[in-house]
């Protein structure tokens, strides 16, 4: 499919998703309490920033943003026996 065909097909769907995000952020801001500094609110902000990037692996980058870190040598921390 051509890019313009995909845009035509998905325009309303993406518009609706952006609107949902906007409404969710408004809802949080209208509610009582301050989310400044809340780690999950910061993560959402970074995720939104990723959408505006020009990379072609945005979905993968968003997944990694919301992922726990992998640490080399974890088996030593768990004191796991090596297997063969």
């Amino acid at each position: 499919m051509k890019a313009s065909q995909i845009l035509d097909r998905e325009f309303l769907e993406v518009r609706a998703k952006i609107l949902e995000i906007a409404a969710s952020l408004d809802r949080m801001d209208r509610a009582e309490g301050d989310l400044t500094g809340h780690p999950n609110r910061q993560l959402l902000g970074r995720g939104i920033d990723l959408l505006a990037s020009k990379d072609v692996d945005r979905a993968e980058q968003v997944q990694l943003l919301f992922s726990r870190e992998y640490v080399d040598g974890w088996q030593d921390d768990f004191e796991l026996k090596s297997r063969t």
Partner: protein, 279 residues
């Protein structure tokens, strides 16, 4: 189009769902052992569950012309209890000769803990000892990337493990490449909220190519859609993919992977045996 759902938890579904799946072209499925929504208290609870998977569900599926296969294990969530897990693993060989058992699964990690890792390794060793295929669950959401890497680390330690007989399931954009590049099969689960949508799964197929990639619905007791594989077929058709490529993903690939199991005695429906005539 006929298709195989390689990962669906039919113990959680109604008989009406079997009928709907058959009407939509599902002719075979495999059901990995998993968490029932509560922790079972004894090895006998698992023995009864394995009877359900090897006796009850195949008979229920057969009423609608669907061939039912299964995988046995204690799932990652209950694997936190190492003592119970070892009792269950000791009992599993009683069922490995059942006609519909394809292998050990869905083993894996849930919260990526030490106990889960120990039980995962012991399951892999059980599979190697009994020459069984392996189906692997990867964790959800924030735990998926770390857990998948840990699983690949552990699998990599087994020189006696044939990677072409192992499927790592629930891959997404950030885990699929590591799994495929290491020589394993990968499964994409079409599931609301926590896993992949049909559109994203097709994106991954387009980027990775269709080889060694399977798609499934996981249809279980949570919010899920047992007819998600036909949704993927529709999405691939809307994007103009060939019928041959769609067939490879939804039928050829699971058929090829399962064919490595001694108990995969699959037979295509014939005009005499098929239950529904709409295909």
């Amino acid at each position: 189009m006929y298709y195989i759902d390689p990962h669906i938890h039919m113990v959680s579904r109604t008989t009406d769902d079997y009928q709907t799946l058959a009407r939509m072209g599902c002719i075979a499925m495999s059901e990995p052992a998993f968490w029932a929504g509560f922790d079972r208290g004894s090895v006998d609870g698992f023995r009864d569950y394995f009877r359900q998977l090897t006796e009850v569900e195949p008979a229920r599926a057969a009423q609608y012309g669907i061939q039912h296969f299964t995988w046995l294990c204690i799932n990652a969530k209950e694997a936190e209890n190492v003592e119970l897990s070892r009792e269950v693993m000791k009992m599993i060989p009683e069922f490995l000769d059942c006609a519909n058992v394809l292998g050990i699964g869905e083993i894996g990690l849930n919260k990526n803990t030490r106990n889960e890792s120990i039980v995962f390794q012991e399951h892999v060793e059980l599979a190697i000892e009994h020459n069984q295929q392996v189906l692997i669950h990867t964790p959800h959401l924030a735990d998926k990337y770390q857990g998948t890497r840990m699983i690949l680390d552990m699998l990599g330690g087994y020189s006696g493990l044939d990677r072409s007989r192992v499927l790592v399931d629930h891959v997404e954009e950030h885990t699929v490449r590591d799994v495929i590049d290491a020589g394993y099969w990968a499964g994409m689960t079409l599931y609301p909220v926590t896993k992949c949508t049909p559109a994203r799964a097709v994106d991954i197929i387009e980027q990775m190519g269709p080889d060694r990639l399977c798609v499934n619905s996981a249809g279980d007791w949570g919010p899920s859609k047992p007819t998600a594989v036909p949704d993927l077929i529709m999405e691939m058709r809307r994007r103009g993919h060939s019928e041959g490529m769609i067939h490879q993903v939804v039928f050829g690939n699971p058929y090829q992977f399962f064919s490595q199991s001694q108990h995969f005695s699959f037979e295509m429906p014939t005009p005499e045996t098929r239950v529904f005539d709409n295909l």
